[in-house]
Amino acid sequence: MEIGFRWDFAYEIFPALIRATGNTILAAGIGYLIAVFVGLVFLLGQKTSSRILNMITREIVEFIRSTPLLIQLFFVYFVLPQFGITLSAWVCGMLTIGLHFGTYLCEVYRGALEAVPKAQWEACRALNFSNAYAYRRIILPQAFPIAIPGMGNYLVGIFKDTPLLSTIGVAELFHAATAVGGYNYRYLEPYTMVGVIFLTLSIPAAMWVRRLEKRVNKAQGKTTR
């Protein structure tokens, strides 16, 4: 078995890996959208008028946040069919990622809301704005830019967690690398190329998020040294 990096093999498997990268980006994107929505649900679930509902939501959020995504994936994939709910591996993966990262985004939203100066809330009350109006016109437009860097970071984070989906058979990039590596009995080239592809995609994304963060900080009046 050759020890050196076989460029001919790498060239041969490159198309399959690139095709699978499209799946990875799709999986990350859809999972992220679900997470954005679920995060909102969890946030609202903790601000209802019922103390019990708030507490239950809080406990659920804590539970999902404190346990590994990998086991949550296995749970959804293996257990749901046993209760008659059979979803494709893709849907299982998207839902679980959405749930898991939804709990993180919920915290981002909470942090962003709390960062809005108290004076804004007081002004709303003084001007007799209804809760809905206050949120819609005053609070959320100020909270949103604050939340963006956190949300951007988790988008990159979801992208880097997509390889976990391969353990339940979702045909994304890492799964393709394992399949082609298993078929040819060589892991060196497939896994190295997966690493390179991830780097090429996530470094620009991370830089873009950091630029967003700087812009938001400047707008907020905070400067970095």
Binding site: G181, Y183, N184, Y185, Y187
Partner: protein
């Protein structure tokens, strides 16, 4: 503060130094007192780990009987994802592959096999009653059914060879993944070893049934060998010698492997040798 770092560094140094794996041949390492490492996946009844990591399954049973004959009592077990078995042994992660690997030309290019320990066939797993009447790869192509099998399985190569399009293939992790996909209805049919399919039929109480292996293409009859690194030739020869002795009077082996369903029908015919399999499969 600094004391903490000193303690941490010492702890980590011990973790990393005690754990490097040397690159001598297997015979040398065993002579030095290292334990033999059996590598396999989770494939009932071929090879799987027990609650305390014991090597169960008939391939393990046969391998351990031969090792006993060689005077090697101690061993360690390592459970891999199936497609990691060959990369794993070549990366010095295990010393013998007892997953129950068919001897195939593509595999012979990467590892060496012992003489055959048995002859086996593939079969398909379908829902009870075989509603789509699928019995081989051609049926899969004709009906447009979704075929599931494990990454790194011989059946992936076979399916490609017989023309099953990629769009109809679903690749999952091992036997467990295959049954999960079938139970959830994510695939219409699974292709795996006959023994693996039988195990799944039994486990689901007949919810799925095994097709007749004779309806599969004749070439899917394969021999299984124990996998070794190409550099461990000396050990492999010794293993083959002991295997020949065990096969000559196979009663102990049959008794131990028989617990998992292996019987005399599996004993390899003399015409199907490792060299033949490496050249033709």
């Amino acid at each position: 503060m600094t004391r903490f770092f000193k303690v941490a560094t010492v702890l980590l140094a011990s973790v990393f130094t005690v754990s490097s794996v040397q690159a001598e041949t297997l015979t040398e390492r065993l002579a030095n007192g290292d334990k033999l490492r059996l590598g396999f996946g989770t494939a009932v009844p071929w090879a799987y780990a027990g609650d305390n990591g014991e090597a169960l399954g008939f391939v393990n049973a046969i391998a351990l009987t031969v090792l006993e004959e060689m005077g090697i009592e101690e061993h360690e077990t390592k459970v891999f994802e199936w497609s990691g078995l060959i990369p794993g042994i070549n990366a010095n992660r295990s010393d013998m592959i007892t997953g129950g690997m068919y001897i195939l030309k593509s595999r012979c290019e990467n590892i060496n096999f012992s003489d055959p320990i048995g002859v086996f066939g593939d079969a398909m797993l379908v829902p009870k009653g075989n509603p789509k009447n699928i019995n081989n790869y051609q049926d899969v192509i004709d009906t447009g059914a979704k075929l599931v099998t494990g990454t790194g399985f011989n059946t992936v190569e076979a399916a490609k060879k017989y023309g099953v399009p990629d769009s109809q293939m679903l690749l999952v992790e091992g036997e467990v993944g295959i049954l999960a996909a079938m139970k959830a209805g994510r695939a219409d049919v699974a292709v795996q070893t006959f023994f693996g399919a039988k195990e799944h039929e039994a486990k689901t109480g007949g919810q799925f049934e095994v097709t007749d292996p004779k309806l599969m293409p004749k070439e899917t009859l394969n021999v299984v060998g124990i996998g070794f690194r190409k550099s461990d030739e000396e050990f492999r020869q010794a293993f083959n010698a002991a295997l020949a002795k065990v096969m000559a009077s196979p009663d102990t082996m049959l008794e131990r492997a028989g617990k998992y369903g292996y019987d005399r029908a599996q004993l390899p015919p003399p015409s199907m040798t490792t060299e033949w399999a490496c050249a033709t499969k």
